[in-house]
């Protein structure tokens, strides 16, 4: 409780400090270069100066924060990836060399590749199907809310939920995990799903698909509603059936949005960490890059060189999407 009080007080102090900074700097600026009540050259000169300085006062705190927490670390991580575990001695490419020959790293790359293939595709697919179906029924919004709900659940919470579903009891005893109960009901024998190499990756992916489908559904549903009615009416007049309209008229018009959903989930997949840590911690050949990186941060007292090298690999995989995003944003800006 005391701690919470401390948090609330810090919060108030933080907000006040921010307000004081913005208000104070502006006040000082207006005092040094006054323009109100003055006329002529001095006023317009002062106005010009304040207009040039003020944006930077507004941007200041955000830029400092972004620099410390994102820009500097990116540079530092790259630098560290060429150094040894303490970050002191330059070792050239040996971290990357180690990576190429490390079985666990190669396993992670392979698994991440599987995740990248399956999760964005499956989440987008289900999201699209659900968005299209729920638009046609009266209780569509309730259905959407329920499917969207896992979005609010933490990866760890979702992991517990699904671990319960995958729970395994030896053959012969009552299965309390839903999946094994179904398998037994249909005459199969129960499996410890998490310990099945290769397949366990897919059982982990199900969790992320379960969480992300709601996101895909919300965005794609908005896109489907944005399709001009005339195009669909024209297709109906031409005698197209429902499936043809969906695949040939509607899908092509929302390609852009599908790509956005796909790339957003792709980035999330590259960073997936909590699920693997909570479910298997990389055992049984289910390791992924983000969890491997976390592992090396602390393993054996922490190997910053190797950890940073793995982070750099994740970053390199993200860069194409980053460039694509920036170009899209720039294109949109030009339109304004």
């Amino acid at each position: 409780m005391q701690q919470l009080l401390f948090a609330v007080m810090t919060m108030a102090a933080g907000v006040l400090a921010c307000a004081a900074y913005f208000y104070g700097t502006n006040w000082v600026l207006d005092r040094i270069f006054p323009s109100k009540g003055l006329t002529g050259k001095v006023a317009s000169r002062n106005l010009r100066i304040t207009n040039a300085i003020r944006p930077w006062l507004f941007l200041g705190p955000a830029m400092v924060s972004l620099t410390i927490y994102l820009i500097y670390p990116v540079i530092e991580s790259v630098w560290l990836s060429f150094h040894d575990k303490s970050g002191q001695n330059f070792v050239g490419l040996s971290n990357f060399n180690w990576m190429m020959n490390d079985g666990e790293f190669r396993q992670s790359i392979y698994n991440n590749f599987l995740w990248l293939l399956v999760v964005p595709a499956a989440a987008t697919f289900f999201g699209l199907i659900i968005a299209a179906l729920t638009d046609r029924i009266w209780w569509g919004n309730i259905a959407k809310t329920l499917i969207f709900m896992p979005m609010a659940i933490s990866f760890v919470g979702a992991s517990v939920i699904w671990k319960f579903i995958y729970d395994f009891r030896p053959e012969g005893s009552e299965q309390i995990g839903l999946l094994n109960a179904l398998v037994v009901y249909f005459g199969g024998s129960p499996e410890a799903w998490m310990t099945l190499p290769f397949w366990n990756n897919f059982f982990l992916m199900v969790i992320l698909i379960w969480i992300q489908t709601g996101f895909a559904m919300v965005i794609l549903s908005a896109a489907l509603r944005g399709i001009p009615e005339e195009t669909i009416e024209a297709a109906v007049i031409d005698g197209a059936n429902g499936l043809q309209i969906f695949f040939k008229i509607m899908i092509p018009q929302i390609w852009g949005t599908i790509a956005v959903v796909w790339t957003t989930i792709t980035i999330l997949v590259l960073k997936v960490f909590d699920i693997v840590l909570a479910m298997t911690n990389g055992q049984w050949q289910s390791q992924v890059l983000a969890n491997l990186m976390f592992d090396w941060m602390f393993r054996g007292g922490g190997d910053f060189g190797r950890g940073a090298a793995i982070a750099v690999v994740i970053m390199v995989l993200v860069i194409p999407i980053m460039i694509w995003n920036i170009r899209n944003a720039a294109k949109e800006m030009e339109g304004r």
């Binding site: 810090t10 507004f58 941007l59 830029m63 972004l66 956005v260």
Partner: protein, 382 residues
Amino acid sequence: MIASSRSPLIWVVHLSVLLLVLLWTLPTAGLLISSLRDKDQLAVSGWWTALSTSTQNLVYRAPGADKQVEKDGKFAIAGNLLEGQATGQVSAFGFNSREPAAFQPGQTADLGDGEKLTVQADGAFEIVADKAMEGTRGQRIFYTAAVPPRFTIDNYLEVMRAEGIGASFINSLTVAIPSTIIPILVAAFAAYALAWMKFPGRAILIAVVVGLLVVPLQMSLIPLLKLYNGVGAFFGVPAKTYVGIWLAHMGFGLPLAIYLLRNYMAGLPREIMESARVDGASDFDIFVKIILPLSFPALASFAIFQFLWTWNDLLVAMVFLGTGNDSLVLTGRLVNLLGSRGGNWEILTASAFITIIVPLIVFFSLQRYLVRGLLAGSVKGG
């Protein structure tokens, strides 16, 4: 929307949506139901049988010889196997783990040494002996009983008290609330500058923000850990503090905040600002008196995002707050419990539900803003 929606196919649509909804909600429903079940029942039967009477094989240890009563020259120990459970039905019993169901209720089992055990269907039992019984350890009685469903909040009471979930709940609140509120002002000012002020380098800054949106957190961890350790050592303060994690969450949340707010503010009508400027208002006045109030929906969207993200975060908390027992947030505590109490589903389900209840409340009450934020936050495709 599509003209064919009145065809008989609509039933297929209804059914498939129903199926999908079930698929998406059953996992969470199972967790909630399980967390409310009696822990003995939870351990032996699936949650989908929660409402039906379950048959369990149980063991009861009768009281020791000190509880015997002398009656008509015989010694007896009596009691009820189903103590503490309102109703139930014993269908078989035994006194030996090899034959736990050797006798029917009402029958009498010969335990040897002149001791006889009788168990009734309602669970009442009596051990009768000709001479005084000895020993402090009571007779074990194995029985099969049909136990009616039982729901309880004991699991919740237990995890709040004994498993540290209560303390972690406070920790999570401590992390999430300031991490949500503090960045808002900082981001709003920056967003206004990027949306409506003219200065050289604006386009580049916007591009940088869009780029930073997708920088993986992993890139920041090691350098910041080193930085925090360095700062901590230099000033002689602990490296892992709440202030540290608040600032970290603010830094990581800013790109999205600036991006969302800038897009929203850029969409506000230019005339409002121009007329205010004609009236002699400075940028600061315009921002505080006009833009900030108008931007409330976007601010709310971001606040919800940031709250969900900081509440649900595991990685940042583990790195910047540590994994010590006092500093674990809910997600970290849950991961620990998964390791240490892996098979105790009554603990795990109740703990998990406590960790997800706050985000779920936020989700259901503020869904409108969440959806709006999502739609504005995803970079629009060409």
